[in-house]
């Protein structure tokens, strides 16, 4: 009980410990879903949710009840996710192809010029497990910042401005990355599937 008195500085006089624990019961499920939606990674999401509550516990004094608990927790988690993507971007050592791998004086290099693709059933391509594994393989060959962009751009359907903010890249950089990644992805699919 003594410890409770020392900790018991919150507005309801409930021990902080108990209060944060009740938040864990109440919010961990939806925070996990959200983290998973953003990262598609179970373990990473669990760790980030855990870190969120630990940070909430440690930083409890900063929470003055001005925003809702839920909003505050989401804010902490959101920063953790953004940090994760930034780290991944820095860590990425794989280099994207440069445009000069594809163009000479602005013209397609002969070997790189797109070939006709024989696409028979576009709508059901992804149901073809062999195609799906080729596509996954091609995406995995791209550097980390492109996978972060894919995630933010397609899964969240975010505007490019927000993607740039979250990844701390300039809009010009964003275009260049998308363009180069698309060139690389296109080539990989052509070599491994459409031309094979």
């Amino acid at each position: 009980m003594k410890i409770w008195v020392i900790f018991g500085t919150d507005m309801n006089n409930t021990p902080v410990n108990d209060l944060v624990k009740s938040w864990v019961k109440q919010y961990s499920g939806e925070l996990y879903s959200w983290a998973f939606y953003k990262t598609s990674d179970k373990e990473l999401s669990e760790d980030m949710v855990q870190d969120t509550f630990v940070a909430a516990f440690k930083g409890f004094k900063e929470f003055k009840g001005e925003s809702e608990v839920k909003t505050w927790l989401y804010g902490i988690l959101k920063n953790k996710i953004a940090d994760h993507y930034r780290k991944e971007q820095r860590r990425s050592t794989v280099k994207l192809d440069t445009t000069s791998d594809y163009f000479v004086n602005g013209h397609w290099k002969e070997s790189e010029s797109p070939k006709e693709w024989a696409v028979t059933d576009e709508k059901h391509l992804l149901d073809d497990l062999k195609f799906k594994s080729v596509l996954d393989g091609c995406i995995n060959k791209l550097p980390g910042n492109w996978s972060a962009i894919i995630r933010l751009k397609f899964i969240d359907d975010k505007e490019s401005k927000i993607v740039c903010q979250e990844l701390e890249i300039t809009p010009t950089n964003y275009w260049q990355i998308i363009h180069r990644a698309k060139l690389q992805l296109r080539k990989c699919l052509e070599l491994n599937w459409f031309a094979a």
Binding site: N17, V20, K21, V24, K25, S28, G29, Y32, S33, F36, Y37, S40, K42, S45, E46, V49, Q50, F53, V54, F57, K58, T99, Y102, F103, N105, G106, H107, W108, S113, P114, K115, E116, W117, V119, E122, L125, L126, L135, I150, K153, F154, I155, S160, W175, I178, H179, K182, L183, L185, R186, L189, E190
Partner: protein, 87 residues
């Protein structure tokens, strides 16, 4: 001085950049006309444009198909609580 053709004719590199830009934002009227003009005569970029669109569709579909992998919530909650108690 730039070649006079520069004003009406995009290079393939520039055209493919604009094809990507178009997926994300609207092109200006001039960009749009110049891109159409380029695609009207450039077979390689026309193929690129179709393929780029297909890749775009596939990526969106993958995102839509992504299903949540459930966590064992009780286990996770216990883990978090014991972590908090360690603090």
């Amino acid at each position: 001085m730039k070649k006079p053709t520069h004003y009406i004719w995009y290079s393939c590199q520039r055209a493919t950049e604009l094809i990507e830009k178009k997926h994300i934002t609207e092109l200006s009227a001039i960009e749009s006309v110049k891109l159409k003009l380029h695609l009207g005569i450039c077979g390689a970029c026309t193929k690129y444009s179709r393929q780029s669109e297909l890749i775009e569709k596939l990526a969106k579909e993958i995102a839509a198909r992504q299903v949540e992998v459930a966590t064992d919530l009780l286990f996770l909650q216990e883990r978090i609580i014991s972590k908090i108690e360690e603090q």
